[in-house]
Symmetry: C2
Subunit: 347 residues, 2 copies
């Protein structure tokens, strides 16, 4: 049973840098990175989109895969890997990834990352352009019927393997709060993650947060997570939730895995006359508290929030006028870092 230790107070920018902690150097020099990352292209063509970044040990493992599935090449002095030109449709790519991920999991490669205990059994969509149209089809669609030429969607793969391949993943985060215009007070519903969770056990989290699986819309994912994680009824979500933007940041785990993420952001301001209480439902959350904003900030600065949750709360505080250009010297640095573009085209 692990519990995070408070740090000495951190600045908002330090909290952002804990989450957005990876990027290609401005000089483009890869040799100053701690290891040479290979670029994962969609097809054996240097102009095809870069889908992810692959560490040397994973690249070595891929070289044992069937040669009619994977191509290895160099371009601009950078190692590249891609599907072969015959693996050229969503159906074929999804099938290759399914077989590979299941076999690697069973064989115990990178057990802490995709071993059977970490296997999610949930498929994430991979897009040619992660900032483009979210057109992953519902699971009920037969992928072999898809028209490759008109799609941004490229294929889907097991969630727990995404960080092995450095691909962009997508999630939803919602801040559920109460505002008192009279005394300008704001209270935020803050869950504590179960101490049995494999990642960030015992850390504080956002009111509602979760990943977007392949084939589910952004808002539908939010509705589902709101019930599963916080016991919020669907009609309450649909009535009071507001889409308010997105954050994007490039996170590298302490073990070195790459997790570039996009989080779609929602606010749910509980009206004074609506008696809403957030409660755990699915065991991922230990408990909920409705904390005054100053207390939330104190816990954030003490490093008690999961890194990407602090970032979403900072975005909340910017949009709601608590963090301003006049009270935060790193205002622009924070805002631009919260909306990064990953620069995959430069890799």
């Amino acid at each position: 049973m692990s519990e995070p230790e408070p740090t000495s107070p951190q600045s908002f920018l330090q909290l952002v840098e804990t989450c957005d902690n990876f990027g290609i150097p401005a000089s483009g020099a890869r040799h100053i990175l701690s290891e040479e990352l290979a670029s994962w292209h969609l097809s054996p063509d240097p102009t095809s989109p870069v889908l992810g970044l692959i560490r040397p040990e994973v690249l070595e493992q891929l070289k044992h895969e069937p040669t009619h599935h994977w191509s290895f090449w160099h371009h601009d002095n950078v190692a590249r890997v891609s599907f072969t030109s015959s693996i050229n449709t969503p159906a074929k790519r999804s099938a290759v990834m399914k077989e590979l991920c299941e076999r690697w999991s069973v064989e115990g490669h990178w057990a802490p990352q995709i071993g059977p205990t970490k296997w999610r059994g949930e498929l994430y969509p991979i897009y040619r352009n992660p900032f483009g149209k979210l057109d992953a089809p519902p699971d009920s669609i037969d992928e072999s019927s898809l028209d490759e030429d008109t799609l941004n969607y490229a294929f889907k793969m097991e969630r727990s393997a995404c960080a092995l391949f450095g691909v962009v993943t997508f999630g939803v985060h919602m801040t559920v709060y109460q505002d008192s215009p009279e005394d300008h007070s704001c209270r935020i519903w803050v869950p504590k993650r179960a101490r049995t969770k494999q990642t960030w056990p015992g850390y504080l989290d956002n009111s509602v947060a979760g990943g977007i699986p392949s084939g589910l819309g952004v808002y539908e994912s939010l509705v589902k997570e709101a019930m599963e994680e916080a016991s919020i009824e669907e009609d309450i979500v649909r009535k009071y939730t507001r889409a308010v933007g997105a954050v994007s940041y490039f996170y590298r785990t302490s073990a070195g895995w790459l997790q570039p993420e996009v989080e779609y952001i929602y606010d749910l301001c509980i009206p004074a006359d609506v008696p809403l209480e957030l409660k755990p439902l699915d065991g991922e959350v230990e408990s909920f508290e409705c904390l005054p904003l100053p207390e939330v900030v104190e816990k954030m600065r003490a490093g008690l929030f999961k890194a990407n949750c602090a970032v979403v709360l900072i975005d909340f505080m910017i949009r709601h006028g608590y963090i301003t250009p006049d009270n935060e010297p790193d205002f622009l640095e924070i805002i631009t870092r919260l909306h990064g573009r990953f620069d995959y085209e430069r890799w």
Copy 2:
């Protein structure tokens, strides 16, 4: 007396691309730009900050300036210009720029840009890091008393000359609106720019917008502009305005001048019981109308708004839940383009 012509309806991303219309190619290849831009460094040292980008014709003109003021060099096959190592304090740099700009204006270089008819007589601050601390001192401070080593502020220069040097400038934009929670209607106060204005005559603008001169705080600039442009009393601004973020984009004018800009964004939601009407005061605005949001959107899509005002309205619509990940295919592309970092370190 010019009046803009409506275009066929544009997408939100097209409107963003009209404003954020310039960037270094991902490949880093400068020769695919239409002209080779020189990088303007603070000092004759390749590691000193890049302050701006200079077009060939301006670079040629600078070569006629005193050699004890300006250095010309190359690094990584790119032309560089900087102050000489003796021009090494805010006071000295501001003095060099003041004399140069005044002389160029009188001599008629780039008359359409900084000729006497365009001269603003307003000083803009230049920072080493445009995303760093806004520490330009008030005008009452003698610059020779400043401690160069602890400042992000580098010097100040005439507003109308900023685009000749491709430096980042800063402004404030506020959306003044009325919300009716009953029928989810939103009406926005929209000014029409005077048809006598030199830039964007007759185009629609944001409720309140203006530049931040050297030595004035962000919020203080907003208070000043709210009165000058829209006759909003100071106590109304201070009571109801909320800071809500910033946008940053790299704009190149049709004549080729470079205007990377940061706009700090504010919302002023007029309470139902406050009788506020926006009215022109200083002659920059011809008239105000309070338009329903759908009509604002129609005029935006028809290209009738000044380019950077459309961008601020798009940010408003994202933060207020009108543009969402489920109804806008370019959602992430728009959000990340609205918070660009200029990548000066790559020039």
